[in-house]
């Protein structure tokens, strides 16, 4: 996996995570998630009325392994706010439950 992670991939991911305020890397698409964890993330963001960009890691093996190296996080989905890694499904869910998600979103100028 390490060998696949080139400077080029890193640069590509860097641009991807900064392409929008909220970016998620998931399995499947926002309309058709292919995994329950990815679906949960989409549902939470939709619940808060957040506009986000999603990338389907199943469509790109290089990005799929690269994103894990980039964020040093072993699983998908992955959530980024303003280019900063926030966490996976558990973390977003806990932030949603605890109400911190609203604060975090307002920090990046999103009213939910």
């Amino acid at each position: 996996i390490l060998a696949r992670y080139s400077t080029e991939t890193k640069q590509k991911i860097d641009e991807m995570v900064k392409s929008d305020d909220v970016v998620i890397f998931m399995k499947g698409t926002a309309d058709q998630p292919m995994c329950g964890f990815s679906k949960a993330v989409v549902d939470i963001l939709n619940m808060h009325g957040v506009q986000f960009k999603s990338f389907n890691v199943l469509s790109d093996e290089e990005i799929r392994s690269g994103i894990k190296e980039y964020s040093n996080w072993p699983t998908i989905p992955q959530i980024f706010f303003k280019g900063e890694f926030i966490g996976g499904c558990d973390i977003l869910l806990e932030m949603h439950r605890g109400g911190e998600l609203i604060d975090e979103l307002s920090k990046i100028g999103i009213k939910s």
Partner: protein, 110 residues
Amino acid sequence: MPVLQSHVENKLKENLNPIFLKVEDFSDGCGFKYNVFVVSKDFEGKGLLQRQRLVNEILKEEMSEIHALTQKCVTPEQWEKMVAENPNLSNENQVEKPNDSTKKCEFHQH
């Protein structure tokens, strides 16, 4: 290769000194999907991301085999509050799932 539940438990016990630990296999005994609930002092002063990073690091080798891992990492203080609200929590025994070999494991690579 499936990862044994006891292996996951032991590794977390050794590294985190948890005051409460619950590891659940939700792949019907296949050893590929785990829910982990850990209460440890080591989480004090750490955010959600840092806590989970700690667990990921401990299970680094195993993660290449495990397809799904959910985590809930709380401090003893948070745990006390949780138990105060729901006293059954600490008595809850791990549910032993029947090992039904006819059930096919859904392949869920991360």
